[in-house]
Symmetry: C2
Subunit: 372 residues, 2 copies
């Protein structure tokens, strides 16, 4: 991949960095795959960075090349949308550690000519953000009009505002948290153990042939997917409805719609995601605790912040519940940072931020307009 | 195993039944492994049946022969305890489908001389109860002073009162539900898929050698175990504490105590439980919907009930939340059955009923005394 500074779709660039990682090492080269929407203005002051979640990617508002599906936030990003590509140049970068073109465990290690696999360094959310800053340097973008993200994207947005307060004018943090809880870590650990229990995982060295640890990754995805939906939402959508049958089979087929749905979620995930990337990114999330480097004082992470913040949570989100957003708001208040916060009502649990939510769209729209 | 009608520890009996199953078939022979505590009185009117949960067993108040640990409810059952073995003859029967001596997939099919494995019939909670009734017939116990259970044990207690109202004077239903929700089914399906994804599962035919699907069963247990604890309880017990280290390893070892704890829960479970039994019993729970046979009208399941009921839920139990107990109470009220109900406060989530809970013990004690 050569450097390519035009703005458009399907961009990629290799930079020599290196990025200084939290594990103490320096990492290079850095491949970045990113998408952009809208035009960068003359003084490069209208860029908005959207940070994606664990299993998402840079295809925020363009067709996914593997699944053929629409971008994952088309209701939010586009001409005349809340994140308006007529006014902003919107960037979304595949995170470090992922598998859609940016450097990750499936990338070729130039030192060996083989995929890194488990020799890829264990990274953190802050490492992802430092890498993104290197790409923005390369693109000549000094200051972001806004950094916006939901879930793990929100963690990156918080990290951006903490690490580079002078580079972030506004931050939008949706359905997120400033640290992973014991329960969050527990669910991720189940997923990692499921992957590593799959004999096809082979210590991570499965890239040579066409047999990745599909069953393990599928089980990991199924477990995680439950945490993305609310109990009430599952009951409303599936209840105890049977799948394509009038009566129970008295067997182990997918009798219930919820079983069929979960199996489909697991199987289809394998087609678009790399198992080792799942290990690395879940690890980065589990390691995330923004207050840790500040002696446990979260407000110290935002000391001297010049950023204005908007936080949104959803009442049925039990993965990153409202209490976690409130904790961040209290810390921002203590740091003297301007912050608006709203808890929205939704039956869709954590995934509410990915679903068309007019209230969320209105809030983001208003917040960005007020910041110009 | 020959018939043995003495009361004491470690009882087992083979009965020819057959038990009529919900799948339409008849099943025999029926092996029963059970424990008893206290003396049956002359008119056999002082028996209390304790029904155990998914991964529990008949060792309610005696040492587990595999783990060497105390019985799982020693605070509740014993001389002078709430379920007082000085006054009652307490029975606990390993459920049909389990692996501690009663008939299950690991049992030898007399027709083939081989373990049933996946030829064991898919059973229901009602089937478990019908089998227990056959054993009680054999023991000459016509009426139970009480049937008591937590979690899946509570489902059996509800089923007992519904199927055999004239045989149950009192029923105690703790941390339970009258049906499995979509979320309940979803978590169980993850566990089943984890087991069946393990190549050592081999379609269930793994009894011939010493390599059961340990990793799959371990992952299943880890996922389930998260649902037994509350988010607040996990935070209080583990938080983000590191395990035997001062700093993160930047690797995939169990850095956090919660990871180490979950891995231990998974691994140690494999030593005492059969993977196929886990498939069958989770399936029975997922199939459970007491109202289903009554056109969705739960109160009809208790029509004409002569049983007095005591329901207890825990406020931090998100597996079978208080709303499910309340739904049962409303149905019992509608059926005109006497019922007392209390939601107890506990940080321990679903597992609260297995932990020493003085309030729970007092309620059970008072309820049983009032029923004499």
């Amino acid at each position: 991949m050569g450097a390519d500074e035009r703005f458009g779709l399907n961009k990629g660039v290799r930079l020599m960095g290196p990025v200084q990682l939290d594990n103490g090492a320096a990492f290079a080269p850095l491949d970045f795959a990113y998408e952009s929407y809208g035009e960068l203005n003359a003084d490069k002051s209208n860029a908005i960075l959207i940070c994606h979640a664990l299993t998402m990617d840079q295809y925020v508002a363009s067709t996914h090349p593997v699944t053929g599906k629409d971008g994952w936030w088309v209701n939010m990003v586009g001409p005349g949308k809340p994140i308006d590509t007529d006014r902003y140049c919107v960037l979304c970068i595949n995170v470090l550690g992922s598998c859609m073109g940016s450097s990750g465990p499936a990338s070729i290690d130039p030192g060996t000519g083989e995929p890194y696999a488990m020799d890829f360094p264990v990274i953190t959310i802050a490492d992802m953000v430092r890498a993104q800053a290197i790409l923005l340097d390369h693109l000549g973008i000094d200051t972001l009009a806004a950094v916006v993200g939901g879930s793990m994207g929100g963690m990156q947005a918080l990290c951006w505002a903490s690490l580079y307060p002078q580079r972030v004018r506004s931050a939008v943090v949706i359905a997120s948290a400033a640290r992973h809880s014991a329960q969050n870590i527990a669910f991720h650990e189940v997923g990692r153990q499921a992957i590593m229990a799959d004999p096809y995982w082979r210590g991570g060295d499965y890239y040579g042939d066409d047999t990745p640890p599909a069953k393990g990754l599928s089980v990991a995805r199924m477990a995680a997917h439950i945490t993305y939906m609310s109990e009430a939402g599952l009951t409303e959508k599936f209840g105890r409805n049977l799948q394509d049958r009038d009566a129970k089979s008295f067997g182990f087929d997918a009798d219930f719609q919820i079983e069929s749905y979960l199996r489909h979620q697991g199987i289809s995930f394998v087609d678009r995601f790399d198992a080792n990337s799942y290990l690395y990114i879940t690890r980065a999330m589990d390691y995330f605790d923004l207050a840790e480097a500040h002696g446990g004082n979260l407000s110290a992470a935002f000391r001297g912040s010049q950023t204005r913040f908007c936080l949104i949570s959803f009442d049925s989100d039990w993965l990153y519940p409202t209490a976690e957003s409130r904790r961040i708001v209290h810390a921002l208040n203590a740091a003297g940072a301007p912050v608006s916060f709203v808890e929205l009502s939704s039956p869709f649990g954590h995934d509410a931020f990915l679903i068309d939510a007019p209230d969320m769209n209105r809030i983001v729209d208003g917040f960005l307009r007020a910041g110009v």
